[in-house]
Amino acid sequence: MRNVRDTARDVQNGDASALSVLEESLAQIRRRNEELNVFLHVDEDGARAAANAIDGRIARGENVGALAGVPVALKDNLCQTNIPTTCSSKILEGWRPPYNATVVDRLLAAGAIPVGKTNLDEFAMGSSTENSAFGPTRNPLDTSRVPGGSSGGSAAAVAADMTPLALGSDTGGSIRQPAALCGLIGVKPSYGLVSRYGLIAFASSLDQIGPLTKTVTDAAMALEVIAGHDPLDSTSLPEPSPSLVAHVEDGVAGKRIGVVRELIDGADADVVASVERAVEALKEAGATIIELSVPEFRLGLSAYYLIAPAEASSNLARFDGVRYGLRVDGDDVTSMMEATRTAGFGEEVKRRIMLGTYALSAGYYDAYYGQALKVRTLTIDAFRRAYHQADLLLGATTPSVAFEFGSKTADPMAMYLSDVFTIPSNLSGEPAISVPFGTGEAGLPIGVQLLGPGRSEGQLFAGARVLEIADGRP
């Protein structure tokens, strides 16, 4: 499947019809979806209607937007009007939102063609997409392994050439980690750059929507479309969408890049080797490399696993059987709510709701949630100090390549450690990007991570592009 840039160009020029691009996408989905379990819902009719509309507008000579005819996969925690939206949970099975997420509206306005909704860890809680009520997604590069998570379905859609673009959400690494495990570019934008309106919340202060693609330019194109102020999201940054594609080829000459020990320590040897080779590539491209230690990053995981569950315990309260989704009857309203939530939520979701409820409870708040907020502040301060010394930071995205099914499901802590390198950026609200760089065990891809201060996406894309070229994808 052609990438985003080439597809949009061909469609805009009339060299390919949006419908033919779509049919190619749908054919690939039909070929591989049963095996991989990527899409929970494919909207063939809606997508064809949208593609025909694009082709009609092109025939009339109209401007059809930056993503004209580009098929896009949506993580199934993004609302699309009248399309089943489940968060991979039984509790929402059958629910159809009456509205579009802002990102969906913006994709449509740019001419993109939403083809369907992808599998995820239930309510985005997980790192392997094994926590889905509708079965796990397989990694297209090695079907005995996980694609990562929680945006595992979105990553697999792009990796399996079903669509050139997918959107995911990243609360603690849920875009970057599956991108790394599936050999893709994955971007967690600055908090507030992309509207969260229509993203079903896991942890509101950490969630951000971002793209998964095969190339850096594709990711920049997609982010330009979905970014920018949205009056429907109070936490949305006030500025319009920044210019990003224009900065992809800026390079890193003269940039100071801090290699952070805490974003490498504990990673497998093949991952460490990739990061070291990435350092050499950046140096060769003219960057100054600085060795940094940011000890506060070690505290991030603990803080995250209090803050995220605390917010989730409140965000997921509304799934109570009263208004929509699953309802399991009971003798009275309280027992109905209990029965509904008991039947509707999976184990990991229940675990985090209980953790979060506990962390916010009277008598425990200060020791847990309150303490975690202090650690969050420490993390933000630590980033600020690091960015006095360096323009960008570099580390691994994940400690290992894609792991095998079931290898971490018995031990939640082992699974949580998959996110140890990605969590600090969510706590600080700053952007980060995962770029494939080299391969490791069993020839599987390795992701390295570039991190930057708030709104530095342009610089991150430039750095990522340097690595992309150095890794043999000019």
Binding site: L199, S234, T235, D332
Partner: protein, 475 residues
């Protein structure tokens, strides 16, 4: 009620007022009362997955206006989530303010000269409204519960007083004065019967001079009468309990208007842990000085100031006049009365027609200018209109507009020639010899009988005073 000797009640009130904004607190749905169930709803106020709140600036302004009128300090504030499960709350949490309210501190001076401190006046969203069918009409034991989410997300300000109130009468005065302030700020229509102002009362009792007793909170008192009765009942219950050797348990109590008593809703030990935390979907609220100044400058005079101004116009007001004055202040009809007094209308009349006739059709005040009010009252005072006719003219103008003279003319209201009145009176005396005899014997009540009969025969055109004069001459 007076407390038994040696006992004192201690009361603090929490008043929830719905803000009179065009739209709800966090979405664009209409904020109106009485629409068909679940018609003023959208993904946001239904708390649908993925929806987010955006704060209504007008709600903030009205909250600031309330705080300014109550001498509060307007402070940088934050929103919190108050978490608990209830079917009429679509997100199963309420967005409220917690440790940092928009209005902190303040006070309210009452007409009786007392001062009640204000602890805070904070913003929060209202819940939907449940109707429980079957059973007791409450959620437990109901056969079915229906929820109307039209009210969900309507902006509220909760005004919390200090425990400074010492009698049910003072509580009533406080609530009435606060209601006047809420109306004067434009924040509320003050319609307690529609639930736009709801009161919870914290009541405790103590022997004079002792430390504060354990309090009980009585929920949802929806009229001034309920407030007074509930506080009196609750204080008496607590005194009786303690005098009988018992102790008051801290609890939330329900007021039953029909039984005239309070009963346990839930005891403190069972109270929910609301797990408050900062609402991550909203940003902090910090109105700058310029905005605060604009709100202060836009405030109209408060009831206390207006009351003083009107009282200054009255030499020796009788109790009926003072009652009318309170109605005029309460409903903001000052300008009519002042215009009438300026034009030389008798105070009794100037107040009465506003407190009765205008008050009965407040929706029509846009149709009635102060000039028309004055002109109508002058016609009545000069005898060109009877009282009945003047009321009818005012009612017509309030309902449909128009000028007093032409309205009176179109209704056929003309002053009855004195000869004509004499003929009618003479005829009535002939037809009612018994009544006439009793009147002549000194039974003054019979004057009203004759006035009534005259009014019927003249279709209200006669003036009551003229009828009495006519009767007197024939007595």
């Amino acid at each position: 009620m007076t407390m038994p000797d040696g006992w004192e009640m201690v009361v603090g009130l929490e008043v929830h007022t719905e803000l009179k904004t065009n739209t709800k607190m966090f979405c664009g749905c209409a904020n109106t009362f009485g629409a068909d169930p679940n018609t003023n709803v959208c993904p946001i106020c239904l708390g649908l997955p993925g929806s987010l709140p955006v704060l209504n600036v007008r709600a903030v302004e009205l909250a600031m206006a309330i705080g300014t009128a109550l001498h509060s300090t307007i402070s940088p504030s934050t929103f919190h989530r108050k978490n608990y499960f209830y079917p009429d709350m679509p997100k199963d949490f309420q967005i409220s303010q917690y440790d940092l309210p928009i209005n902190a501190g303040g006070y309210l001076d009452l007409p009786d000269g007392s001062r009640v401190s204000i602890e805070r006046a904070h913003l929060e969203e209202d819940t939907g409204k449940s109707t429980h069918l079957g059973g007791s009409g409450r959620i437990h034991g109901a056969d079915r519960s229906l929820v109307d989410y039209n009210r969900s997300g309507v902006p509220l300000v909760e005004i919390v007083s200090g425990p400074d109130i010492r009698s049910s009468a003072q509580a009533r005065t406080y609530a009435a004065e606060l209601r006047g302030i809420l109306i004067a700020t434009g924040a509320s229509d003050g319609r307690m019967e529609e639930g736009s102002m709801r009161i919870d009362a914290n009541v405790s009792v103590r022997r004079s001079g002792e430390a504060l007793g354990t309090r009980c909170e009585i929920k949802n008192l929806n009229s001034l009468r309920s407030l007074t009765r509930a506080i009196d009942f609750e204080a008496a219950r607590q005194v009786e309990l303690i005098e009988g050797g018992g102790t008051v348990r801290q609890e939330t109590r329900h007021w039953d208007e029909n039984l005239g008593s309070t009963s346990t809703m839930r005891v403190k030990e069972e109270a929910d842990d609301y797990r408050y935390f900062r609402e991550p979907d909203l940003v902090d609220l910090a109105p700058d000085q310029a905005w605060q100044d604009r709100v202060r400058d836009a405030l109209k005079p408060m009831p206390a100031e207006r009351r003083a101004a009107l009282k200054g116009r009255l030499a020796n007001p009788n109790p009926a006049l003072l009652d009318a004055l309170e109605v005029v202040i309460d409903l903001g009809l000052d300008s009519y009365v002042i215009a009438a007094l300026d034009a030389g209308v008798e105070p009794d009349l100037a107040f009465a027609r506003a407190a009765n006739e205008i008050a009965s059709d407040l929706d029509g005040v846009g149709n009635l200018s102060a000039e028309s009010y004055v002109a109508t009252l002058r016609m009545e005072q000069g005898g060109d209109l009877s009282a009945t006719q003047a009321k009818s003219v005012l009612a017509e103008i309030l309902a449909n507009g128009g000028e007093p003279a032409s309205v009176a003319q179109s209704k056929g209201f003309e002053r009855l020639a004195s000869g004509a009145l004499g003929e009618v009176v003479a005829r009535l005396i002939d037809e009612n010899p018994d009544e006439w005899a009793r009147y002549r014997a000194g039974d003054e009540k019979l004057a009203q009988f004759f006035i009534g009969q005259v009014m019927k025969l003249t279709k209200g055109q006669a003036n009551g005073k003229d009828v009495i004069a006519e009767l007197q001459t024939r007595r």
